[in-house]
């Protein structure tokens, strides 16, 4: 192909065959899939570790595993002096103290960088050098009586041509595809938070009323 006809690389053509959809969606789908697996694993952990089960099949009853806590309170006597601390034991669902923040992929960065370089240069250098030299010499001698003739001649010629041409063509492709996925802790779902709050509120002591108070009211 003659150098003059060598066109630059078409940028649009270079990018047209790229699977951009796959490049972007594949990491996001992988992140979503990982999140789903993590959620399932945490749910299984929650049910197997923090609950006891009763029943079989569809009628499984999950009963929270309780742990025993000791509540210590100071006592001030009527005369203002410190009394012995009072200890109260109460039960608390194990679920309420487990750091069950949802672990999930919370950030996926997809960076795609593609560089197509195309350059063409044509250096043409033509030099023509012509050198001609001519040299002539002539002498003639003529005599008569006794014929005498002398002819002398000399001719010299020189010619020199030179030509040079440089052509340079460069084409390069480079592509960089970077995926950064970060897993962090998300806030618990509202439903789980409500369940935990309900459990934790159950540790408040129940105040019994006098037997006749309800009837009088």
């Amino acid at each position: 192909m003659p150098d003059q006809d060598r066109a630059l690389v078409s940028m649009a053509q270079q990018f047209s065959g790229l699977p951009v959809k796959s490049l972007i969606s594949a990491p996001l789908l992988a992140g979503a899939e990982a999140n789903g697996k993590m959620a399932i694993m945490q749910t299984q952990f929650l049910l197997s570790t923090c609950f006891n089960t009763d029943g079989d099949g569809d009628s499984v009853n999950y009963k929270p595993i309780m742990i025993n806590m000791t509540l210590t309170r100071s006592v001030v006597k009527h005369d203002g002096s410190a009394g012995d601390p009072v200890q109260t034991r109460f039960d608390l669902p194990l679920l309420t103290i487990m750091p069950l923040n949802s672990l999930a992929v919370d950030n996926v960065d997809v960076n795609f960088e593609m560089e197509v370089k195309s350059s063409f240069s044509n250096d043409k250098e033509t030099s023509s050098e012509s050198e001609k030299a001519a040299e002539g010499s002539f002498s003639a001698k003529v005599g008569w009586g006794c014929f005498s003739a002398e002819v002398s001649g000399s001719v010299s010629a020189s010619s020199k041509n030179s030509s040079s041409e440089k052509s340079h063509y460069e084409k390069s492709n480079s592509a960089k595809y970077t995926i950064n996925a970060h897993a962090g802790q998300l806030p618990l779902p509202e439903g789980v938070t409500t369940i935990i709050q309900a459990f934790s509120q159950c540790i408040a002591p129940i105040q019994l009323k006098e037997p006749g108070a309800a009837a009088a009211a």
């Binding site: 806590m69 750091p99 509120q201 540790i203």
Partner: protein, 65 residues
């Protein structure tokens, strides 16, 4: 693991912030209400079940990361 959990104080209803890993080592945690001097600790009878659950959760996290 430095997760902080919270439970309601049985005395005043304010929050008691607890760290489960320290709880199984015998630490006690006081109520956030400065007027309430209540503190809670894990009873010895529950050390085993709590520790086992925390270790299991930590393994789960390691496997997920």
């Amino acid at each position: 693991m430095k997760d902080q959990q919270q439970i309601d104080c049985p005395c005043c209803g304010q929050k008691i912030y607890i760290q489960p890993q320290l709880l199984v080592r015998g630490s006690s945690f006081s109520c956030s209400n400065p007027r309430c001097d209540a503190s809670v600790a894990l009873s010895h009878s529950s050390y085993s079940v709590t520790n086992k659950a925390l270790n299991k959760l930590e393994k789960l996290r390691q496997s997920q990361l």
